[in-house]
Amino acid sequence: MLEKEMNNRVSGLLAFMSAVMLLGCDLQSEKKLPYLGRREVNNSDTIYHTIADFKFVNQDSNYVTQETFRDQIYVSDFFFTTCPTICPIMKTQMLRVYEKYKDNPQVGILSHSIDPKHDTVAVLRSFAERLGAESDKWHFVTGEKEEIYKMGQTSYMVSAVEDPSEPGGFIHSGAFILVDKERRVRGIYDGTLADQVDVMMKDMEILLKEYE
């Protein structure tokens, strides 16, 4: 009698746990990343914030535009090669992203220099090579300073502002911005924190599933 009751309890518990696990799986598979930024509704159609067109030059002197990231999700950030503070940490973290996705043609990385006067194509090429980054996967771009700052502030929604009092002369956010294949921002993460970058890489998996 007692044994039977125990058995009932155990099977009840098992059933409950299985239900929780199934629910957990279900929630996970249905998780969708948000769309960040301003949105407009036109006749029941929602128009999401998208990255504006751009044209910069990468470490190989090639133009990098929206076309470069056709059929790719990509991670974008803002840095400069002589930055003594957070950039080395960001690059350490971005290198993890690069290592994980270097063989995945659906993923790209776009690092903008916010000190384009110093970070010429040659400087960026040397930097990328020493970091061990392949050009067709990880683009380090330079260009008109105003254009780069404008992209940072309006398209990627992060700040990149000059401040002579800061070491290196620039302040910037250290953000990694995740962009989908339709140029929409799907996540903004702190690129100086390893656990935030872990979250981003999980989110990248979720985003890639949208295109399966």
Partner: protein
């Protein structure tokens, strides 16, 4: 009876242990405490000022930032290490046979004591135990740095 013997033995062991520690070893004991303090503070300063590039574990990053852990550059080179921490570094530098060429920023705000603590930390970590790098030595090395 047996218990008394045991207790006595125990006490004498304790006494020997105590005298062993204090007897004539005062100087080196306080040296050891000082070394330990330098390493602890040095580690904090290292994490604050150096680890972004050289990494927390001293391994450096790819061919951008050279390692400190296991670096041949540290061998008999404390003068230059101290000067580099203070004044930064420009131009190519070979560490363990690999050339690096990334600007190292100066740290003019670091005091000789702080530099001594950082130097002590890196010279007593990652397999090294070279002992204390003293403030007076650091001040001497700093006077010898080439003006940049």
């Amino acid at each position: 009876m047996n218990k008394t013997v045991l207790a006595l033995t125990y006490l004498s062991v304790l006494l020997v242990a105590c005298t062993g520690k204090t007897k004539g070893v005062d100087a080196s004991a306080s040296e050891e405490v000082k070394l330990e303090q330098y390493i602890v503070v040095g580690r904090t300063l290292y994490l604050q000022h150096c680890s972004s590039c050289h990494q927390k574990n001293g391994q450096g990053l790819a061919r951008l930032y050279p390692p400190i852990a296991g670096a041949d550059y540290l061998e008999n080179n404390i003068e230059n290490v101290v000067c580099n921490i203070k004044n930064g570094l420009n131009g190519p530098l070979v560490v363990n046979g690999i050339e690096y060429n990334q600007m190292m920023p100066a740290n003019h705000k670091l005091t000789p004591l702080e530099i001594a603590e950082i130097a002590t930390y890196i010279y007593n970590s990652w397999g090294r135990s070279d002992g204390l790098v003293g403030v007076l030595d650091v001040e001497k090395y700093l006077r010898g740095c080439q003006a940049k």
